[in-house]
């Protein structure tokens, strides 16, 4: 297997799906000759043509709505939102339309659409090129939400997303586009949307994380293993919605201690749901407070370099939090 970066894995998934299914097309801002502002679609217009890789007008609502309409006309749109931060104009189309279509039509119309969006901080993007938006959408039944952390998962999950008959939001850790590398098979395979993935085993504390934070969590777990002999288990919550309640509970039943990591704002972030599940269904296993380590409740992420650094969770901060919990 070849080693590929996160963004290469994503590009490869799209390339292969374009190749395999004539109903698949891409639209979004600058996805054509520019190949996307992050180059995720680089080379695809040259290979598959301008009818299948379509530069959209600068209007996110319409990018999503066109996707919805095209999906109902039996195509398989991949809609790129240039930065997750710019998805808000399309909230109505995503939440009130795409997410509810199957249910509201009593299962007669489906919206097989994938929405890709880079998310997350640490790249000097300031308040509007750094946002994490999974928590917002996680409150919306009818959507699936995927955040891969490894290139392997990225390719396999993106293929599952494109083939899924439901609207799937696929958030990509932009900070990791080139920094995250891993083994990725050439050719076709899928990773199922749904189950969490235990990235590192351990008995003492469970760390829940996804995307960029899953890497930091593994790094932190390795640190505390070496330095403190603490065995932390890292659960990669690569599917945010629908929630894998069993997968989330399983590790906790073993450790009784939980630390949930996300770079999104703390309050009402995804960790709130994980904590709520654990403190109800996992109550009998609880062996300490359920902790969240997340971004502070200010608009994410301030631009100024030192403030940005202080905003973001880091392996070191995670390691400290693990130690505190392990000692409880």
């Amino acid at each position: 297997m070849a080693t590929k970066t996160l963004i290469e894995a994503i590009r490869e998934a799209m390339d292969e799906e374009l190749e395999n299914d004539p109903r698949v097309f891409i639209t979004g801002e600058d996805v054509g000759p520019r190949g996307g502002v992050f180059r995720a679609t680089m080379g695809l217009i040259e290979k598959h043509g301008p009818e299948r890789v379509v530069d959209s007008p600068l209007a996110e609502l319409s990018i999503i709505a066109i996707g919805i309409g095209a999906a109902m006309a039996d195509l398989r749109p991949i809609c790129e939102i240039q930065f997750a931060d710019f998805i808000h104009p399309a909230m109505n189309q995503i939440m009130n339309e795409a997410a509810k279509m199957y249910y509201r039509s009593n299962g007669t119309w489906t919206v097989p659409m994938t929405i890709r969006a880079p998310y997350g901080g640490g790249i000097s993007g300031g308040l509007y090129h750094s946002q994490s938006l999974e928590a917002l959408f996680a409150h919306c039944p009818g959507l699936k939400i995927v955040i891969p952390s490894t290139p392997y998962d990225a390719k396999g999950l993106l293929k599952s997303a494109i083939r899924d008959p439901n609207p799937v939001l696929f958030f990509e850790a932009k900070k990791g586009y080139r920094a995250i590398k891993g083994e990725v098979p050439d050719g076709d395979y899928t990773v199922p949307i749904g189950p969490v993935n235990v990235r590192r085993a351990g008995d003492d504390v469970t760390i829940y994380a996804y995307g960029m934070m899953a890497h930091y969590a593994v790094e932190a777990a390795n640190m505390v293993a070496e330095q403190d002999g603490i065995a932390a288990e890292v659960v990669d919550v690569r599917t945010i919605l629908p929630v894998d309640r069993e997968g989330i509970l399983e590790s906790f039943k073993k450790t009784g201690k939980a630390l949930i990591i996300y770079e999104d704002n703390l309050t009402m972030g995804y960790g709130a749901e994980v904590a709520a599940i654990l403190s109800d269904e996992g109550f009998e296993y609880m062996d300490g407070p359920i902790r969240r380590l997340a971004g502070p409740d200010v608009p994410s992420v301030p631009y100024s370099h030192p403030v940005q650094e202080a905003f973001m969770p880091s392996p070191k901060k995670i390691a400290d939090a693990i130690r505190e919990i392990a000692e409880y």
């Binding site: 004539p22 109903r23 097309f25 009818e51 299948r52 959209s56 007008p57 209007a59 609502l61 319409s62 709505a65 066109i66 996707g67 919805i68 309409g69 095209a70 999906a71 109902m72 006309a73 039996d74 195509l75 104009p89 109505n92 189309q93 009130n96 339309e97 997410a99 509810k100 279509m101 199957y102 249910y103 509201r104 039509s105 009593n106 299962g107 007669t108 119309w109 489906t110 097989p112 039944p141 009818g142 699936k144 083939r163 899924d164 008959p165 439901n166 949307i193 629908p242």
Partner: protein, 358 residues
């Protein structure tokens, strides 16, 4: 800008043949029938609401002419139709049955629109290619552009034969004039224009958005004045004149089928009843105004036209009325007695997701 729009009625005088000239008496009567059936169902719905037997009704009254005209201009039951809540007559003409409408009113399991999940008149019919609509207005417009984009794409990728009349070849969407204030409308129109899509936007302009009159909604006399700004042809038509509406729609359809691009048809009409069963229109418009418009009723007007030409006579009117009445009664009984949706599956979280193929 009003002069920029195509005024078909002005054109009509000077030209030889209008598309509606070639409609056979049978077709004309069918059009009349759908208008009538729609009206009678609609009236019954108001009564059911007054009787406390249904919680809500939103009416298509007064809009029947342009709606039926739109349906008859396209390939009914095949071309995509993404309507709005007033489009009862349009949906009936496209193929929805009286029972199906009534099932929606009562929120029953067999309702083809939503199985009772949505409020009444939130039309959808998979088999007829009527798309599912929500309540937030104008969301259907960019989606309909997406459907039209899908058609163009399918043809270009040879997934569909452009001559195949069993496949949709245009997307028709409709909305009220007030709803064109939404950004959704702007963005949908823009895509339609940029990609020259087989797309028709029918604006049913009844000069009010609930209580808000047009001059507080927009600073132009016609919605169609905005079409040119999108590279879309704009047509203003008397929406209470079914034949004029038909002519406008045929022009729009021909443009769509032949790849000439999108058309906006603005049908000037009126809503002679309150906005919905929750509304009371006396606070915002005079009874005189309402009465004046009632005299322009599109069904009475078409009936007179057909009578004048001997296509209809009093016997036939009575026969139609009797048939409509029977259908209304029958469909009401059917829907009333039909079962409600089952609770457990309706509230099961897995019911929001289409199953994934293995």
């Amino acid at each position: 800008m009003a002069d920029q729009s195509v005024d078909l009625q002005a054109n009509a005088a000077s030209e030889q043949a209008r598309p509606s000239d070639s409609l056979s008496p049978e077709i004309l009567l069918e059009m009349y029938w759908y208008m009538l059936l729609s009206r009678r169902l609609d009236e019954r719905a108001w009564i059911l609401h007054r009787q406390g037997r249904i919680p809500f009704h939103i009416s298509g009254m007064g809009h029947e002419a342009c709606q039926v005209a739109a349906a008859f201009a396209i390939n009914r039951g095949v071309d995509y139709v993404h309507p709005y809540y007033r489009d009862l007559a349009m949906c009936l003409a496209v193929g929805m049955s009286a029972e199906e409408f009534m099932l929606g009113l009562f929120g029953k399991a067999e309702d083809p629109s939503s199985g009772g999940r949505q409020m009444p008149s939130h039309f959808s019919h998979r088999k007829l290619n009527i798309l599912s609509m929500s309540s937030p207005v104008a969301t259907q417009v960019p989606q309909a552009a997406g459907l039209a984009f899908g058609i163009k794409y399918r043809i270009a990728q040879q997934l569909q034969d452009p001559e195949d009349e069993t496949q949709p070849r245009l997307a028709l969407t409709s909305l009220g004039e007030g709803s064109t204030s939404q950004g959704e409308w702007h963005e949908g129109m823009n895509w339609a224009g940029v990609h020259k899509l087989p797309f028709i936007c029918l604006v049913e302009n009844n000069i009010y958005a609930i209580s808000v009159p047009m001059h507080q909604q927009m600073a132009v006399p016609n919605v169609a004045d905005r079409a040119a700004g999108y590279g879309v042809e704009g047509i203003v038509v008397d929406g209470n004149d079914i034949l004029a509406s038909y002519d406008a729609m045929v022009r729009a359809r021909d443009r769509a089928y032949s790849g000439e691009g999108p058309t906006l048809v603005e049908a000037k009409t009126y809503r002679p009843v309150p906005h919905s069963s929750d509304d009371d229109d006396r606070s915002y418009r005079s009874r005189d105004e309402v009465e004046e418009w009632k005299r322009k009723d599109p069904i009475a007007r078409f009936q007179q036209y057909l009578l004048d030409r001997g296509i209809l006579d009093q016997n036939k009117i009575d026969e139609y009325e009797a048939r409509a009445k029977q259908m209304v009664n029958q469909s009401q009984s059917y829907a009333d007695e039909a079962p409600y949706p089952e609770i457990a599956p309706s509230l099961d979280p897995s019911s929001v997701y289409a199953p994934v193929d293995k």
